[in-house]
């Protein structure tokens, strides 16, 4: 930890400390390559992975520059939670599905372009301030009382209003997502209890202990051979309905037990 603070103390605009320069020239090209790759690769999961890599390199840069808390939180929130949700959805949707290119919300394009211009302006002004030797507060003065404490002080005193507004926005978004995803149930879900009652208080107790397994009491235990009941008749319920519909069921008569008994006699 000390090394990082010492490093950030040496760090000044225009003369970057050597270890940081080495680290930057190794990681930055990798990050740029990964970012380009994210746009160019075919599979959605690969591009999600490359994005995760970009986020991790960004976190390393933050840490190297003395913003330790920001770096770690970047990994926890973006790589750990947001990208994981992305992956989750990509896996649920399936690999082969292609994106639908129909725009069903109007005015999304101009809104996106406006937002992009806004962010570009912000970034440009920040980079400009840093490179044109605009007097800036150094990292060391901000980190004087510890990185986390300094950040907490800013967030909960000077920016507390902005903080609350953002959290209200996030809660609204989460509620909106819940409302959109919620569907009214027409009838209540059958619970394990209901199923159990239906099994035992129904007409017959034949399936109370579950369906019979395939092949039981026959001389063949493959999944496509029906079990034999105590009466010697094949139990149709013991074979999967899919196999039955496909016509893949084998008759169990050639495997009946009494045959062997006769042979032995």
């Amino acid at each position: 930890m000390h090394n990082i603070f010492a490093l950030s103390a040496q760090l000044q605009i225009g003369n970057t400390a050597t270890p940081e320069a080495v680290q930057f020239w190794i990681l930055a090209p990798l990050a740029v390559l990964a970012a380009l790759g994210m746009l160019l690769v075919k599979k959605a999961v690969h591009s999600a992975l490359l994005l995760a890599w970009v986020m991790v390199t960004l976190a390393i840069f933050y840490i190297a520059q003395g913003a330790l808390f920001l770096g770690i939180v970047q990994v926890v929130v973006y790589t750990g939670a947001v990208m994981m949700l992305f992956l989750f959805i990509l896996m649920l949707v399936g690999v082969d599905s292609s994106d639908s290119l129909v725009e069903n919300i109007k005015g999304q394009r101009p809104a996106a372009i406006t937002a992009a211009i806004g962010i570009a302006g912000l970034l440009l002004s920040l980079i400009g301030r840093a490179t044109l030797n605009h007097p800036a507060t150094g990292v060391e003065s901000i980190n004087a009382n510890g990185n986390v404490q300094g950040l907490a002080n800013e967030l909960f005193t000077k920016y507390v209003w902005a903080f609350e507004v953002v959290s209200a926005l996030l809660i609204t978004a989460a509620l909106g997502a819940m409302v959109l995803a919620h569907s009214q149930k027409v009838k209540s879900r059958t619970s394990q209890r209901d199923l159990s009652i239906a099994r035992f208080r129904g007409d017959s107790l034949a399936t109370a202990a579950g369906l019979p397994g395939s092949g039981i009491y026959a001389l063949h235990n493959a999944v496509d051979v029906p079990a034999l009941g105590p009466d010697g008749l094949p139990a149709q319920a013991s074979v999967s309905r899919v196999l039955e519909a496909r016509g893949d069921m084998i008759s169990s008569t050639p495997f009946e037990l009494n045959k062997i008994e006769e042979e032995e006699k």
């Binding site: 770690i72 790589t79 896996m91 990185n147 107790l205 109370a208």
Partner: protein, 412 residues
């Protein structure tokens, strides 16, 4: 001198030595813990367990490891080759990284330097462990996806959902510790526990952490990601040879590191049991290592005990427990803890604090008694609703003395 300054003065080679030591400790711990788990579970199931290779079968896991490494390495045709290879590597590397911030001893002498057995001391050390754990999940999820078959995919999906939900509860359980210790650094948290362990002061947080740590490491009864009975091993179904060994290694190292974190946060870390503080100076401070590992082994035994005792949870019950019990309870607990903390910091009189605690207890008791009454009511209603159905009659063996009664009631 604080731990930060101690470690900050380490020369480069000492840092390298410590890194290697951590690696060795983790690998040896894995070998021993696999053996210990098999022996303990065997004892719980009235079996003997592995006892052939070496004294008491101690070398069994080493032999298994060699066998695994020499097996044929298969990559399925449908697999995504690059991701399939990367996944076990992510799993195995991240699990070692978490150990870097765990303090294993107090001040000790190592090769003529005064230092502490801790690789680095970040001011946000505990958050760092959470971050590493969340990257580690990528290993499981990607393994599930890249295998190109159904069971691994289901295992990967389950695991990602599981970890996202249980990481929230885990993070919330840590908040109370941060509030009480005033720091997120592991060494500062241990220093804050010199009087009372947080496992005692913040008991609910401790319980929530222990539950979510089992969920986080995919161990029974929360091992839905690799449920053998349902998913044939889940995310690692298609893996063989060294790649499978890496997952195996990752699972056990993860267990050791979450246990070590639990020790650090709630059981005073490397400190001795209360009243045995004089032992900490033995062997030039190295005796604290014994205390540290004794506590870690305690958690490890808990893991094994759970595995030997509890059946796997059903998926919806598991999710319900995470979201509807663990998270609300920890939120409520954080509110109580922070109120108490602010009260004591603002110099409120003892009477106010006691009154507040009493009020909270009263509220909890009334809520639980209401809940119990509700439960009894639903129980009664359920019994009423059952009367609508005719009672079934089951085949029963005939009683002695009345021979012909038994078979009459056979249904179905």
């Amino acid at each position: 001198m604080s731990t930060v300054e101690l470690i900050g003065a380490d020369p480069g080679w000492l840092i390298a030595v410590k890194g290697v030591l951590i690696f060795v400790i983790c690998v040896v711990a894995t070998l021993l813990s696999i053996w210990a788990e098999r022996r303990i579970v065997a004892r719980m199931q009235v079996r003997v367990g592995p006892n052939r290779v070496g004294k008491f079968g101690l070398l069994q896991s080493l032999a298994d490891g060699v066998k695994l490494a020499l097996k044929e390495d298969l990559i399925p045709k449908a697999a995504d080759r690059i991701v399939f290879v990367i996944a076990p590597i992510i799993s195995a590397t991240t699990c070692f990284m978490a150990f870097a911030v765990i303090p294993m001893t107090g001040k000790v002498h190592l090769f003529g330097h005064t230092t502490a057995m801790q690789l680095t001391d970040l001011p946000v050390g505990v958050l760092y462990v959470l971050a590493i754990a969340s990257v580690g999940v990528y290993g499981i999820v990607l393994a599930g996806w890249s295998s190109g078959s159904t069971y691994p995919l289901l295992g990967g999906l389950r695991s990602s959902a599981q970890v996202i939900s249980y990481e929230v509860a885990m993070g919330l359980s840590l908040v109370a510790v941060f509030i009480y210790s005033g720091s997120m650094s592991t060494s500062a948290i241990i220093d804050a526990q010199d009087k009372w362990w947080f496992g005692v002061v913040l008991f609910p947080s401790f319980i929530i952490y222990v539950i979510s740590m089992v969920g986080e490491t995919n161990r029974a009864p929360f091992d839905l990601a690799e449920a053998e009975g349902e998913l044939v091993g889940g995310f690692h179904t298609e893996y063989s040879s060294l790649k499978f060994a890496l997952f195996f290694l990752a699972e056990y190292v993860n267990m050791v590191s979450v246990s070590a974190l639990a020790t650090t946060l709630f059981l005073g870390g490397y400190h001795a049991l209360p009243g045995l503080g004089f032992t900490e100076a033995w062997l030039g401070g190295w005796f604290t290592l014994v205390w540290f590992f004794a506590k870690v082994i305690l958690f490890f035994f808990l893991f094994v005990w759970l595995r030997g005792t509890l059946p796997r949870l059903r998926y919806d019950q598991f999710m319900q427990f995470g979201w509807k019990v663990l998270i609300p309870v920890s939120l409520l607990w954080i509110m109580i803890v922070s109120t108490l903390r602010v009260l004591s910091q603002q110099g409120a009189s003892r009477f106010v604090i006691v009154a507040f605690t009493f009020g909270v207890l009263l509220l909890i008791f009334s809520a639980t008694s209401l809940f119990e009454r509700n439960k009894e009511k639903t129980k009664k209603e359920n019994a009423e609703s059952l009367k609508a159905f005719p009672a079934p009659s089951f085949p029963v063996p005939s009683l002695t003395g009345s021979i012909n009664n038994g078979t009459e009631e056979i249904h179905g």
